[in-house]
């Protein structure tokens, strides 16, 4: 099923939950809503679920406006961060509840619940109450309950946030696998950019109730449209340095405190009008070299495969990924090479990208 949002807005008096969201998904697509807490992603999800009524705008399921359709008639399944299992019911009753409400005959319900529970790997826990299950098992019950009525749309509200890191990783791929196998259009709300990047076909980045971008993960990573997206997507986060761009006989140069770099012409051309810009450069695009910008190592965070260095160039701090084999130590003076071929440039006032 396709989902389309047009100018979707939710306000409570002066409080804005979401403002003018325009977005449309393809059938069977996995879409992630990404943003910090309070950005309106859950508000939007709850409007799609039918729990909140939009103040302005429309929600369309397969070209049908569903604004006033109650949640029970939308044929959706939803998984909550708190799992929201019914504590007084057994696993069997929890998973079977949507079918019970549809008045499915008993033996058919039994078969169906068993099949879904087996698929989720909790078939042996049918008589347990939610309080007797581990977090991961509870999550599977919640997933089973969302799937049993074979919904046309699956909604996830930060479903993995309460799991420990290891389990989160395995559930992540499991949900992704399941979604691909079943081909159900899914909307997944998260504040974890890694979750959004790894799972989603397209990511909708939100901030302060506004949709900042809706694009595939690579696109967000390589061509961030705003300063916010650039800073939010990617781990470790992008470095931002206030610089000036100067043009000298055909070549472009970046000048900052203690920084002097060449800028490729295709990027330099686009900043011709505004000389003061914010340059964004990812930690993996800065490397230790023999010549270049000098700085002092302030902190080293070993990440295993790489060391994350916090290097101070005068007042400016930049994060750099370095090979641990180089044996850099704290307080060392290092020389950095900036790969400006992938540098991002932003207008300091509008925070919009000057490149894309």
């Amino acid at each position: 099923m396709k989902v389309e949002l047009t100018n979707l807005t939710k306000r409570w008096g002066d409080v804005v939950g979401a403002e003018g969201i325009d977005l449309s998904t393809k059938d069977g697509e996995f879409v992630a809503f990404l943003g910090p807490s309070g950005c309106g992603k859950t508000t939007t999800l709850l409007m799609i679920a039918g729990i909140y009524k939009p103040t302005v705008g429309e929600i369309l399921f397969d070209d049908r406006v569903v604004n006033t359709v109650p949640p029970k008639d939308r044929n959706i399944g939803m998984v909550f961060q708190s799992y929201a299992l019914y504590p007084h019911m057994t696993v069997f009753q929890n998973i079977g509840y949507p079918l019970k409400l549809q008045k499915v005959p008993k033996d058919e319900l039994q078969k169906h619940v068993q099949r879904v529970a087996d698929m989720m790997g909790i078939g042996h826990l049918m008589d347990r109450k939610p309080a007797q299950l581990s977090g991961g098992q509870q999550q599977r019950v919640a997933l089973g309950r969302a799937l049993i009525k074979e919904p046309q749309l699956l909604l996830f509200d930060e479903p993995l946030s309460n799991l420990d890191a290891r389990l989160r990783l395995s559930m992540r791929s499991e949900i992704k696998r399941l979604q691909m196998d079943l081909g159900i259009t899914s909307i997944y709300v998260t504040h974890d950019q890694i979750e959004a990047m790894t799972m989603a076909d397209r990511v909708a980045v939100m901030k302060d109730g506004h949709l900042q971008a809706f694009a595939p993960p690579d696109e967000l990573y390589d061509h961030p449209k705003t300063l916010f997206i650039a800073g939010f997507v990617g781990n470790p986060p992008m470095n931002f340095i206030e610089v000036e761009v100067k043009q000298e006989n055909g070549s472009y140069q970046v000048l900052g405190p203690g920084i002097h770099l060449d800028l490729p012409a295709d990027r330099g051309e686009k900043v011709a009008r505004s000389s003061k810009v914010i340059m964004g450069i990812r930690p993996e695009d800065i490397s230790l070299a023999d010549t270049g910008v000098k700085g002092e190592v302030y902190l080293i965070e070993p990440l295993g495969r790489d060391d994350l260095l916090d290097v101070r160039i005068g007042e400016t701090a930049v994060r750099v990924l370095a090979d641990p084999a180089l044996g850099v130590r704290m307080r060392d003076t290092v020389t950095l090479h900036f790969n400006t071929d992938t540098a991002q440039l932003f207008d300091p006032d509008t925070e919009q990208s000057l490149l894309w």
């Binding site: 709850l46 679920a49 039918g50 729990i51 109650p70 949640p71 029970k72 939308r74 959706i76 399944g77 939803m78 909550f80 961060q81 708190s82 799992y83 929201a84 299992l85 019914y86 504590p87 007084h88 929890n94 509840y97 949507p98 409400l101 549809q102 109450k129 939610p130 309080a131 977090g135 509870q138 919640a142 309950r145 009525k149 946030s161 309460n162």
Partner: protein
């Protein structure tokens, strides 16, 4: 950690005394109450008592009798007991049902005048029933004038007393219930709505089971206050046909008849029995705090 452990060991004796202290204080403080109960029980089975001990005409210990309990043979007592039970059950069902519905609406739904309603409810609770007696009398007289309903809920009917008691207790019940509903996670309710339940089914099948202890607490509270009701039945009923146990008990100590103290004790004890039974059955529900199926966000 080790230092803390050592301190604990050193002050082991002091620790033990501190642990025991509350129990000692509690035990001492309930001794007078227990003596009171024992005294009542003894008194109901004797002609006279001296202190806690029954005595006979010669002033010696003895002289037990069942005479104080002969009131049980009187048909009147069963009539008023039935009336007391109807008032108490009326309150349990009436207040329980109405305030769990109202509390849910106030906790979960947004409607015009919600805040005003909440405020007014609280103000209503502040009025003592004594202040309202005359007004209530007028209302009951009005109801008595309505055909059919007047027979069941008008002045000088058990139904009328029950209705008045229910209305006086509703504000507290509504606030209590709203508080319980406020503590239930929204997610569970949303999940049920998405699963396909109607609002009413969500309330009945999903939310109410979560607040069983709260409902039990309210039920006990209402049963006791309905069972012990005195002022309202005394004011709005005439004669034993519609009066209840408390009013009946009061007749023993009226101006015109001499006070039969031991008989009063017997009726009082008789009145206490249902409450004890009721409490035994509901205390488990009261103490049973539900293990939630939610983690973190609840």
């Amino acid at each position: 950690m080790t230092t803390r452990f050592e301190t604990e060991q050193k002050s082991g004796l002091l620790q033990r005394i501190l642990t025991a202290l509350p129990y000692v204080v509690l035990t001492i403080s309930i001794v007078p109450i227990i003596i009171g109960f024992v005294w009542i029980i003894v008194a109901t089975f004797s002609y006279r008592t001296q202190g806690i001990l029954p005595i006979n005409a010669q002033g010696k210990i003895g002289g037990l009798t069942l005479q104080n309990w002969t009131f049980l043979l009187d048909a009147k007592i069963w009539r008023v007991t039935f009336n007391s039970a109807m008032i108490a059950l009326g309150m349990v069902v009436g207040v329980g049902f109405l305030s769990s519905l109202t509390g849910y609406a106030l906790s979960r739904m947004n409607f015009r005048g919600r805040k005003t309603f909440l405020g007014m409810t609280l103000v209503l609770h502040a009025f003592r029933p004594e202040l309202l007696l005359i007004a209530i009398f007028q209302v009951l007289l009005f109801i008595a004038g309505i055909p059919i309903a007047g027979k069941a809920f008008g002045f000088n009917t058990v139904g009328g007393v029950a209705i008045v008691m229910v209305s006086l207790e509703l504000p507290l019940g509504i606030w209590l219930m709203k508080g319980f509903f406020d503590n239930i996670s929204w997610d569970m309710e949303r999940a049920a709505l998405i699963d396909g339940a109607s609002r009413f089914r969500v309330w009945w099948e999903i939310i109410l089971p979560q607040i069983k202890p709260g409902i039990a607490a309210l039920a006990i509270f209402n049963f006791i206050s309905g069972w012990n009701a005195y002022l309202i039945p005394y004011t709005f009923t005439i004669g034993t046909k519609v009066s209840n146990l408390s009013v009946f008990l009061n007749q023993f100590s009226s101006d015109t008849s001499p006070m039969g103290w031991n008989q009063v004790a017997a009726v009082g004890l008789f009145q206490l029995i249902p409450i004890l039974i009721f409490f035994i059955f509901t205390q488990e529900a009261l103490l049973n705090i539900y293990g939630g199926g939610t983690k973190g966000g609840a």
